[in-house]
């Protein structure tokens, strides 16, 4: 990842994080505010329900009191207590209930037998004893209880009143149905829904009102909780699959006649508006974040470009210097740290050039010294016999002519031989200095190696020490090279290897194709391994240095020439060796068709 991209990402992330944090804060605050509003609205509605509940209860109480205190009811109760037939009064309650607008009215005998039931006359004779049980409370205000009707159990707001006679009391239980009509009279604010969970002692429970369509399994845990605790609680509940809305539901246990909770008030507050606003905030935040990120990318891109441009120039300049172009310079451009870095780079480059020139100069001097030393060494060897021979001739003039002639013949022969030796030495130096440029063409390296091996095969077999050869050729494609020079390379390496194995051994010729070197078509690899005495690491490091040799009669130019040829072909040569484990020369050559770059 480039520096510019990193800078860009850093800026964009910073902007996005900042905007996201601000949006989250706004959303959290909005959420909290809505919760407070929702709480207030719910409380208001619950209070309204309680007022309606009390008002309805008061009306029912008033109605039942009116009936219980009426003269006709008193007369009826007295008649009944005097033995009047209950059956003849089976329809009495209907008229009373109608007059007081009561949905339910039971006239009950002292033993609990129903004398008359306005809502279910067929229940004549049925005994209701729940309010007669010892210890059962006799509530003055109205209370909630389920009333049995022909259609099933119905939740009702009831009032219980005794009708006093001279004997045991008769009872009146009257009330009204608590249904969706009562809930509808509450006129809840928009978004609020009121329901009542009705749980009769026998028969299935039901939900009256807005929550009637809500799956009961969503509400039941909350309802069960408040019924168990006789208190209130709230929870966030999914309001049915078709509504797909989340609601905050407040559940309040509605007390009944006994400890058992007969019903639970459910006030659901829709989070639709809050959700919509939160979505809106989220959208705006997303938009701002998007714009921020876009601006961050643009601004960051601009800044990153300004910052990275001189660094890029520096990197390019460094790369060019690495490739040998020492003349490259970087314009400082500004006075900031980047400008100073560019100036320092230029200064460093200049310093490197100066150092390099000094190094080249010193190396050149060293090379000349080495050359002089080698020349002195090489020339000194033949000069000594020449001096001795000439001195022998001078001394031979004092001998007899016959002796002089014999000495003269021997001395002239020696002189000629040593002069020839000098010429050979001078020729070799001349050859090294006049290394020709390679005439590149497609060369079958395998075939070339086979030719060399065939040439030296006889010599190897005839020698005092037997040297075996092994070919492991990889059927290489043609390489790009000069066949004469490459043959000379292979021959030099073979002769070098033979010298390294005076006691005999094994020469292994190996070729293969290498694709892992970055070249388009790959390169050819030629390895020549001997089983000689090997080289030390220090010897390996100096092996290709001209005039360096480990042999007693070597010139130290053979491997230097080999390296020069390989280099001129755009190839590379290296050596691996370990003492007493032989030496392997490793040459890589470009295939025919690859662009050859001479180093």
């Amino acid at each position: 990842m480039s520096l510019k991209t990193k800078l860009l990402l850093l800026v964009a992330l910073s902007v996005a994080a900042s905007v996201g944090a601000v949006a989250w804060l706004i959303e959290a605050r909005t959420h909290e505010t809505f919760r407070q509003i929702e709480q207030e609205r719910t409380t208001a509605l619950v209070n309204q329900f309680r007022r309606e509940f009390e008002h309805e209860g008061d009306e029912i109480t008033r109605g039942v009191d009116t009936i219980a205190n009426s003269d006709s009811m008193l007369r009826l109760a007295i008649d009944l207590s005097n033995g009047s037939d209950y059956a003849s009064h089976v329809n009495e309650a209907i008229g009373y209930a109608s007059a007081q607008r009561l949905d339910f009215l039971d006239l009950i005998a002292p033993d609990g037998a129903t004398i008359s039931s306005a809502h279910w006359p067929a229940r004549f004779g049925y005994k209701q004893r729940w309010f007669l049980e010892p210890g059962a409370p006799r509530p003055q205000p109205a209370f909630l209880r389920h009333v049995e009707t022909p259609q099933g159990s119905v939740l009702a707001l009831l009032c219980l009143r005794p009708v006093h006679t001279h004997g045991p009391d008769f009872y009146l239980i009257g009330g009204r149905r608590l249904d969706t009509t009562v809930l509808g009279s509450l006129f809840p604010a928009e978004g609020l829904r009121v329901s009542i969970y009705s749980a009769p002692e026998q028969g299935p429970a039901e939900i009256l009102g807005a929550a009637s369509g809500v799956p009961s399994e969503n509400l039941m845990p909350l309802i069960q909780k408040v019924m168990d605790q006789h208190g209130e609680a709230s929870a966030s509940i999914e309001w049915g699959p078709e509504l797909q809305q989340e609601q905050i539901v407040h559940a309040i246990a509605l007390p009944g006649y006994s400890d058992r909770v007969p019903a639970v008030l459910l006030v659901a507050n829709s989070l639709e508006r809050e959700t919509a606003l939160e979505k809106s905030v989220a959208k705006v935040s997303l938009l701002i974040a998007g714009v921020g990120v876009l601006l961050g990318i643009i601004g960051g891109g601009f800044v990153a470009a300004r910052l990275s441009r001189p660094i890029k120039k520096l990197a390019r300049a460094a790369a060019e210097i690495g490739q040998g172009n020492w003349d490259v310079r970087v314009e400082p451009g500004s006075q900031d740290e980047i400008g100073k870095l560019a100036s320092a780079f230029n200064q460093m480059t200049q310093e490197l050039i100066t150092q390099r020139e000094r190094l080249v100069q010193s190396e050149r001097v060293a090379a000349w010294r080495e050359l002089a030393r080698r020349l002195a060494h090489e020339l000194k060897n033949p000069l000594f016999p020449l001096q001795i021979t000439v001195e022998n001739l001078l001394r031979a003039r004092e001998n007899t002519p016959e002796q002089f002639d014999e000495v003269f013949r021997e001395s002239t022969a020696t002189l000629l031989e040593e002069v020839a030796n000098l010429k050979t030495i001078i020729g070799r130096f001349s050859d090294f200095s006049r290394m020709p440029a390679p005439q590149l063409q497609a060369v079958d390296l395998d075939e070339l190696i086979r030719g060399v091996v065939q040439l030296v095969q006889g010599q190897l077999a005839r020698g005092p020490a037997r040297i075996e050869t092994e070919l492991q050729l990889g059927d290489l494609p043609a390489v790009s090279g000069d066949p004469v020079l490459l043959r000379r390379v292979v021959e030099n390496l073979v002769l070098n290897a033979i010298d390294a194995m005076p006691q005999g051994g094994k020469l292994t010729f190996r070729t293969e194709l290498d694709h892992a070197n970055g070249l388009k078509h790959g390169s050819a690899v030629f390895e020549l391994a001997d089983t000689g005495q090997g080289l030390t690491p220090e010897e390996c490091g100096r092996l290709f240095t001209p005039y360096y040799t480990t042999k007693q009669h070597g010139t130290g130019l053979g491997l230097a020439i080999v390296q020069s040829v390989v280099s001129d072909h755009g190839g590379q040569i290296s050596v691996t060796s370990a003492k007493n484990q032989g030496t392997t020369f490793h040459i890589e050559l470009p295939l025919w068709g690859e662009q050859v770059v001479s180093i």
Partner: protein, 480 residues
């Protein structure tokens, strides 16, 4: 002296009052008797299927006459037939017609009677022996043929090609609006003499509330009552005519045990039907729901008619009912029984709800619901209910005839009717009734009285023990 004068004045006043009273109690012709009927009747034809046949028969009796008639004491008297004579085996009956004419002036002939009787009972063989003699031959002996012929179903009706029905009765049908209104005017040429009122007008389908309003405000002579209205009227000193508890309130299970008709529900297990019978608190139904205007029924015929009803078992036993219901359900709650009742009958609704309540106490679920038509066979055939609560009139004061008629109304096996008609001793009748009840397809609930409010200006309104009206001597006072 002063005392003597006062006594003289008082005696004079009493004599004047007596003289006035005597003049107002003397029958006189004219006037219209307006009657409110509880139910609606769609056809006046006695042979036609009708939801409320008792109501229809009350009107039909005015215009269509039977060959015989039964008085309140159950004695048979001649009507259109002046005399009759059976063969020794009681299979062939020869009836001599009196000289009478239909309302169009044509004379009643034996052929007319044969045609009418064929329509009522196609299973018998009829012969017009001569112009005035009809011979009836039945497949099996019928001891009570004269009583049977007094049933309204056997009324003589002349059916004209245009659909008009002609009778021979004391009133002719002047206006007929099915289900709404009927006007009968006096037949001047009636063989028994002209009736006192000029006409009798019926208003059908009047609700209880409307009845009460009309009674207080309108010029009605009479109105049918439901039991809950009786008490109110009793308390206000109004005259209420009550029949004997004659109508049979009965649960009829519609699916026979071997029903395999596609689309119909499975028949109710006989044990469950028996359980329902035991679960019903018939006393509570009679005393409370029917306001003691009925009696618990354990048989099809009432105790006052047969004297043996108490021998039939229908005791209220909730524990037994629970056990039977549990046995029927094999541990599983028994399926609900849908019970249809007459939507227009508030008493039927009340009784059905009580039955459902009693059943629920025994662990049986009964779901009552109102149906607009429950009595006719065609309505029952198309009904989806498991059972229906019927109110069937007592067709005759002769027990065997009444049982045979009930067997027909309830769709019981023909053997029930034939064994009833062949019964000579009460034991035979009891046996026939037991046979009819043994599979609990029919559960008698109560015998119900028919109640009628009678205006003080209506006189000689005769109500037979089974609730039928005999208006031959009716006259109305001061109503035009």
């Amino acid at each position: 002296m002063k005392h003597s004068r006062s006594r003289l004045l008082a005696i004079s006043c009493l004599l004047l009052a007596a003289a006035g009273g005597h003049s107002s109690s003397r029958p006189h012709y004219g006037g219209t008797a307006r009657v409110l009927l509880q139910y609606r009747v769609n056809s006046i034809d006695p042979a036609a299927e009708e939801d409320h046949p008792a109501t229809r028969d009350r009107m039909a009796r005015l215009t269509f006459e039977t060959l015989t008639q039964v008085d309140p004491q159950g004695r048979v008297h001649p009507r259109l037939a002046s005399s009759w004579r059976p063969d020794p085996a009681k299979r062939v009956w020869q009836l001599r017609l009196r000289l009478a004419s239909f309302h169009d002036g044509t004379t009643v002939t034996a052929a007319d009677v044969v045609a009418s009787l064929k329509n009522a009972e196609p299973g018998w063989r009829y012969t017009a022996t001569d112009r005035q003699t009809v011979t009836i031959e039945t497949p099996s002996p019928i001891t009570q043929m004269p009583e049977l012929l007094a049933v309204e179903k056997f009324a003589v009706v002349k059916r004209l090609p245009d659909g008009t029905l002609l009778g021979t009765g004391p009133y002719r049908l002047s206006q007929w609006h099915p289900g709404e209104h009927a006007l009968f005017t006096a037949n001047e040429d009636y063989w028994g003499g002209r009736s006192y009122p000029d006409s009798i007008e019926f208003q059908m389908g009047a609700g209880l509330r409307e009845q009460l309003l009309q009674r207080q405000l309108g010029p009605y002579a009479a109105a049918e009552l439901t039991p809950d209205g009786i008490r109110t009227l009793d308390q206000s000193g109004q005259e209420v005519l009550l029949s004997r508890p004659a109508d049979l309130l009965v649960i009829l299970f519609l699916q026979p045990d071997n029903a395999g008709v596609a689309g119909r529900k499975k028949p109710i297990d006989p044990r469950l039907r028996q359980a329902l019978s035991s679960a019903m608190d018939r006393d509570a139904i009679s005393n409370a729901m029917l306001q003691k205007k009925g009696s618990p029924a354990s048989g099809l015929l009432p105790q006052w008619l047969t004297g043996y009803e108490f021998l039939l078992d229908s005791a209220f036993d909730r524990a037994r009912a629970r056990k039977l219901a549990a046995d029927a359900g094999l541990g599983v709650p028994s399926p609900p029984i849908s019970l249809a009742y007459d939507f227009s009958d508030p008493v039927a609704k009340l009784v059905a709800e009580r039955i459902a309540f009693d059943a629920s106490q025994a662990g049986i679920t009964v779901r009552p619901y109102g149906e607009s038509h429950v009595n006719s066979k065609s309505a029952q055939a198309s009904m989806n209910a498991d059972a229906v609560l019927l109110r069937l009139p007592l067709a005759s004061l002769e027990p065997s005839v009444a049982l045979a008629a009930l067997a027909g109304d309830l769709g019981l096996a023909p053997e029930t009717a034939s064994s009833a008609l062949q019964a000579v001793r009460p034991e035979d009748l009891l046996q026939a009734e037991r046979k009819a009840l043994e599979n609990f397809r029919v559960l008698p609930v109560a015998h119900v009285s028919q109640a009628l409010w009678l205006n003080a200006n209506a006189h000689n309104w005769q109500q037979l023990p089974n609730g039928l009206w005999d208006l031959d001597q009716l006259w109305v006072e001061g109503v035009r």
